[in-house]
């Protein structure tokens, strides 16, 4: 189980670093970088979930491929979907960032306080 533990450390670590960046940094672009790190961690977690030790990729070919020795294809399909959703959110977030910079001239979230509770 050495194998999977390595990956668990990797993906949980990536998620935690991403969330830490989002929670503590003041710069908006830094926060969005944190978001992308967090999402990369999640993709890794999803793929690890479907992984079976010693199995091959779920692609048949003329010579090889027995279904019993392949990893689960569903999480990979989910990750493909999630990656594209992630890039869409990222593009929208960065366009809003540019627009915010035009209004305020800064990206420091502590200084952008037009709205109060």
């Amino acid at each position: 189980m050495f194998h999977q533990s390595t990956y668990f450390v990797g993906c949980v670590g990536l998620m935690i670093v991403g969330l830490y960046t989002m929670l503590t940094k003041k710069n908006l672009i830094k926060v969005i970088i944190g978001l992308s790190l967090f999402e990369t961690g999640i993709y890794l977690l999803l793929v690890v979930v479907g992984y079976i030790q010693g199995a091959t990729a779920p692609i048949f070919s003329r010579t090889t491929g027995s279904p019993a020795e392949m990893v689960d294809p569903t999480p990979q399909a989910l990750v493909l979907t999630a990656i594209v959703i992630g890039v869409a959110v990222l593009a929208l977030a960065l366009s809003l960032t540019i627009r915010l910079h035009e209004h305020y001239g800064t990206l420091n979230l502590r200084k952008i306080r037009g709205l109060k509770w």
Partner: protein, 233 residues
Amino acid sequence: MRILISCVLLVILSLGLVFALEQAPFGSNQIDNADKPGRFYLNQGMEKTGAANVVTSVVVTYRGFDTLGEVTILFIAAIGLGAVFHSRKKVKRYEKEKQSASLILQTGCRFLFPLIVLFGTYVFIHGHLSPGGGFQGGVIIASAFLLLFLGCEEKKIPMKSMNTVESLAGIIFVGIGLAGLYWGESFLENFLPRGMDYMLLSGGVIPIIYIAIGFKVGAELAGIVAGLIERNP
């Protein structure tokens, strides 16, 4: 203070995650479970759809509705970017005193652009046989347009035809789904014959849908990049 609170929160979350992941029987319990969807796709997917790449058959047919939603999300991002950047006054094109790229760079871009587009097309046409598919190929095509933007600034992306391609590809995707409902029994069902295994013309509707996705993703991402670059502050 803020750092302290977030550290405490994150430590709790990471401990919870690590414990949860240690206990869950990931992966290993599925080999002998033939009724689980993942195993079913592996055992029967090739026979039913004729696509050698099982991930593709899952993405395009079994979970095709997710893919439709996902393409929609990219579409939303492209439109939303246009809506956010819309400015009331008609701004003239961005005329900054930027130095144009060197001759070598320009020639290189012109030379590489068709090759990259060709490669992207290859990736999404062969999506049902080899790794790759509509998303990957679409992104590669979009990156070719990105190169064009960086290298040859005088070239403009024809946004109008881009929108047309995007819209037509979306309609084709929905139309194939409805055709499945009409000729088959359910939305997005594979109603074409599956063809010869391992050949380009196999898998029924899968290659058609993936080509539509490829065009749509490519046009949308190129539109997003164009919108971001052409924004004048």
